[in-house]
Homo-oligomer: 319 residues x 2
Amino acid sequence: MKTAIGIDLGGTTIKGAIIGETGVCTHITRVPTGADQGGRHVLSNIMDLIGELINKSGRDASSFVGVGFGTPGFVGADGMILGGAENLPGWKGTQVYAPITERFGLRVSGANDVTSVALAELKFGAGRGVQNIVCFALGTGVGGGIATDGKIYKGTHGMAGEIGHIVVETDGAQCTCGRKGCVEAYASATGIVKMAVDFAKTETSPFAAIAHETPAEVTSKMVYDYVAKGDALAMKVHHRMCDMLSRAIGTILDTLSPDRVILGGGVMMAGDVIIDTVKTYTPKYCWPAIYERCEIVIAQMGEDAGVLGAGALALEEFV
Amino acid sequence: MKTAIGIDLGGTTIKGAIIGETGVCTHITRVPTGADQGGRHVLSNIMDLIGELINKSGRDASSFVGVGFGTPGFVGADGMILGGAENLPGWKGTQVYAPITERFGLRVSGANDVTSVALAELKFGAGRGVQNIVCFALGTGVGGGIATDGKIYKGTHGMAGEIGHIVVETDGAQCTCGRKGCVEAYASATGIVKMAVDFAKTETSPFAAIAHETPAEVTSKMVYDYVAKGDALAMKVHHRMCDMLSRAIGTILDTLSPDRVILGGGVMMAGDVIIDTVKTYTPKYCWPAIYERCEIVIAQMGEDAGVLGAGALALEEFV
């Protein structure tokens, strides 16, 4: 079986593994990112991790088809980080491909981290059997990954899939990007917490009392724990979140008419309650004929999706 | 040189031509659509036109690589019209591929008419030399066509590219689709006229006087004739149109990060004034790094874009 080395770069941890064509994922290894020490140091940590994985495998570097990596932000076609990774100071401007190829003799393919996850879903998860998918990753922010005609779509400069910044409400909630009304400001964990704390000022419910007293302790998981109990504040936040997310999904449906929209990320630990409610809002925001032909489903790949998709990038490109 | 038969189906006219690989377009022939006589009659007219083109060519049908056609609405992968062509009653549900193949022994590839235009731009026009483009056709409505990684992207059911219904203003202007605030309600000829007539009720300018007196005679061309004169009403309409169009372009940029956004259709007869103003608004509505890497340009293909792109569909798929 052909194998690749997958690297999933996060703000605090770099995760590496050996990925096989069938989606098998072995030798999972984590090292600290060391983001505060700058882009060069992060790259050095990635390189050492690749070396460690090759050693652990007991094989020659040349036996791997290549290295795939997922990163926050944008990777240019030549392996240069072009931006969009605010939590990794100095990472922008780092050339990633050349040093890895020089040291290990391996080709490298990189992509945005959610794009990597989308590839994992396409090949091994909720996207199996179809050609066109769009993934929303509902985490601290909202990321996106797109596959068209059975292949990951990166855009020429690796910048496609910034669907967290689809505007869903004119002059709406402030987004971290500086604009207003982006879906990220409602459907991310951060956005959900902010809505809960804001609404708690005027709403009355058991959860509202807690959110009002100790706003700093509110989490999106807590919101969904109270949704499960039918709490009025939590339900209000949930419906607004799902309404806004559905507007972005509607835009995506009209634009790309995917076979499946896949919702993942930490927020989706809440599970079917979000899928079910999104399905009540989305038909209002797109062509009925397109909606009828698209499934909205929950992501199937777990916490290894990033590193698996990263390895799959190399397997897709170099096999 | 390999050639195909291209068919461009419109609400009033069916246009056919013989299209060569280099974009050469000969034997252009027009026949009435006969839309009021139903889908079966329209198909019969298309078939007769194909027969006429083969006769005119003096060649065997088998010397063509296939037939390509562009149509309003959605074409499924099997050649069934799946909807979205309201000006062609009874066209939905028509199977187009099988009868043509049966009569002429030629393979058929169909797509939405603006998707066909996008292919013509990609291969021979404003999209030459790049891989990823999005076309906006600003006509009676607003249509769209998308190419990813150098190929036309139709979506599994031929429904991709309904970007005229990207919502750009929450609870905004009424759109013909039943929703509110779609970009089509502002950036189509119909939307431009409606804005001019509405604004004329309160605005004072030479054009406002005319629009107020004879609203039924206002056209989008007239609006842009007055934009050229700096008329206050016309400028107000123009800026609102460009602002709203830019919001949709911003969404497309964040989603697909295309190399070029190509603006075409009848409204774009106004030319650079729209491009120039759109370029002042769009940066507000997307990631700066994505905007910097995308050109917003005017369509280059003229009135034959539809039939040329239709033929190119067959050349792309069957050569």
